[in-house]
């Protein structure tokens, strides 16, 4: 009989019905394991009555709160799988998910149901005051082999690859992941974990682990530093699980509030800067635990033992995993390859099972990340072999933004790359080539165009008009920020061209490999 993560939770709830499961976000609010189990079973019954059954896939479009966990576990209880539709995305991005993943039904926040207007069939049914169940017209067939995998999550993400292909995770795979991670985390009923991340992106080796191992989740009132500290203090937290932005906001707090003696302060989603690690340590006397997690494998590396001494390292490999560093051809860097429990079950489109994915590298998962390992086995991430951009831990590939920019009638070609900025880590910047005979649109018009089609964190903060995009000898677009910024600045001083000047792009295209600034509006 196949595993169901909802059953794993029910067993834990039966063992500790009075134990608090969720504290907050309102002061004093608490729901126990037993109460939440009843809520999950009651919601599952409502879903069954509404026609949700085993084998269906339901899109979940809801804010990160107690109800998000409730809907996910209720859907698992009836045997359905879940495709998260992050609230942060632009409407078009949300609709794309429905076009690429076979979704039978949606659970949506009532305030945002309109996004799916063109897909809805029939009337919405009420699941709660704030949530509606919406039947949608399925846009495609699910892969034939999907049902046999016992899927829990189908995430629309590019993972470590450049194109969004969807990652399928079964109940068994997630269970393997949380057990492997817990060999390092040791989460148990005594833990109270302050939760700060988007549940649409982070749920498996976190929320599922907490519910499976009997821990308590602490939800803060909001994301301001003072509220995060208050949540940790008032609830005697033992762990915090957040992104660098959360720790930065806590560091900014000017009160004399001290954190309780945390066992772990996990940093995930983005690289932790030395400055922030030091500032947090100076303010709270606590070293932050960096981690290395990827959607395809879970959380195989955590800096548990020496976060202060080995700051900058994501830590040592957990016992269940194996690692191999493979020197890149003609380069002085090595790509990280991993193997271990909880590897993804399949890519959704084109459909590719785990065995086929791993076959490419003789049974190893190629992560696309570059790393070095010291003699004590501490891994440090030094870059990526692929061109992913990470804005405060929200990751995306530049090609996605380039495609949107190139849909603008005045833009012939676009190159998007990440530049280092304070606080956010990276911010996207765009080099643009103007279409022949067009006037260069201003920065606000470009941002408005992007805002209609992209999540706000993907919108370039700066735009620069160039005569042509820089390319390698083989014709590949160069997205190296250091190189592009250096080139642009040099030519900008030497040869500025007015924003509104009309250009003969045919003439300009002959200057392959050469860049000129056409505007300084976005500097």
């Amino acid at each position: 009989m196949s595993l169901n993560l909802a059953e794993v939770f029910f067993q834990k709830a039966a063992a500790q019905p009075e134990h608090p499961l969720i504290l907050g976000p309102r002061g004093g609010s608490c729901i126990s394991y037993g109460e939440f189990q009843r809520d999950v079973q009651s919601m599952a019954e409502r879903l069954r009555e509404a026609g949700i059954s085993k084998g269906m896939n339901v899109g979940l479009h809801y804010p990160s709160d107690q109800k998000y966990i409730l809907f996910t576990y209720a859907l698992w209880t009836v045997g359905a799988s879940v495709t998260p539709i992050p609230m942060e995305l632009a409407n078009e991005e949300k609709q794309q998910i429905l076009q690429h993943i076979a979704i039978d039904t949606l659970i949506s926040s009532v305030r945002h149901c309109d996004v799916f207007e063109d897909f809805i069939v029939g009337d919405a049914s009420e699941l709660s005051e704030q949530a509606r169940l919406l039947k949608v017209k399925t846009q495609r067939q699910a892969p034939a082999e999907l049902a046999a995998i016992n899927p829990a999550f189908i995430r629309f993400t590019s993972g470590t690859t450049g194109t969004a292909k969807g990652v399928v995770l079964s109940h068994e795979t997630i269970f393997e992941r949380i057990n492997a991670a817990n060999q390092g985390l040791h989460i148990g009923p005594e833990d109270r974990i302050v939760w700060l991340l988007s549940m649409a992106y982070h749920f498996t080796v976190s929320i599922v682990a907490y519910l499976s191992f009997g821990a308590t989740i602490v939800l803060p009132k909001n994301a301001f530093g003072v509220s995060l500290l208050r949540a940790a203090i008032d609830n005697n937290a033992t762990m915090i699980y957040g992104a660098p932005t959360h720790y930065e906001l806590m560091t900014h707090d000017r009160s004399d509030k001290a954190l309780p003696p945390l066992r772990l302060a996990i940093v995930t989603t983005a690289r932790l800067s030395t400055e922030l690690a030091e500032a947090f340590y100076q303010r709270f006397g606590l070293a932050l635990n960096e981690t290395y997690g990827i959607i395809e494998i879970g959380l195989p590396v955590i800096n548990i033992d020496q976060p202060r001494q080995k700051q900058g390292s994501v830590g040592q490999l957990l016992p269940a995993y194996s690692i191999k560093l493979v020197r890149q051809e003609n380069q002085n860097t090595s790509e990280i390859l991993l193997h271990g429990p909880g590897l993804l079950d399949a890519y959704y489109e084109p459909w590719m099972r785990r065995e086929a994915i791993l076959q490419k590298h003789s049974g190893w998962l190629a992560t696309g990340d570059l790393g070095v390992m010291d003699d004590a086995g501490f891994l440090t991430i030094v870059g990526r072999s692929k061109e992913m951009i990470s804005v405060a831990g929200m990751k995306f590939f530049p090609q996605e933004v380039e495609r949107v920019l190139e849909r603008h009638p005045d833009i012939q070609a676009a190159c998007v790359f990440g530049v280092k900025v304070p606080r956010l880590g990276e911010s996207p910047m765009a080099h643009l080539v103007l279409n022949e005979g067009c006037d260069a649109p201003d920065e606000n018009a470009l941002k408005d165009h992007c805002a209609e089609l992209l999540a706000s964190y993907k919108i370039p903060r700066e735009f620069k008009w160039v005569l042509c995009l820089e390319r390698t000898a083989s014709g590949k677009i160069v997205r190296n920020a250091d190189k592009l910024l250096k080139t642009g600045q040099t030519l900008n001083t030497a040869n500025p061209i007015n924003t509104n000047q009309k250009l003969n792009t045919d003439k300009l295209k002959t200057n392959v490999g050469e860049q000129h600034d056409l505007t300084t509006s976005a500097t």
Partner: protein
């Protein structure tokens, strides 16, 4: 465009994705409604510093200053006054 209008436009475009929630006005609680996550807070700080040449200090990053269009407007105004007469 007044400061209030500019801030409203920024918040609606950037953080509400152009969709006005029911009952939205300049006192609408953006934090309570879930629009001010950590990324939105950091982006707003960066925007204010760039747009209004106003250095945001650590003690400024509190819910009271970011909770609505009116709160943000009062905050930026007070920072501008502070800059003129420190």
């Amino acid at each position: 465009m007044t400061l209030q209008q500019a801030l409203r436009e920024y918040l609606v475009k950037q953080h509400l994705k152009g969709l006005l929630p029911k009952g939205f006005d300049d006192d609408y609680d953006l934090i309570d409604a879930g629009f001010m996550d950590s990324l939105a807070i950091i982006n707003t700080i960066t925007y204010l510093e760039k747009q209004y040449d106003t250095p945001i200090e650590e003690g400024d990053i509190v819910p009271e200053n970011f909770m609505s269009v009116n709160a943000l407007c009062a905050f930026v105004t007070s920072k501008q006054v502070e800059q003129v007469s420190p």
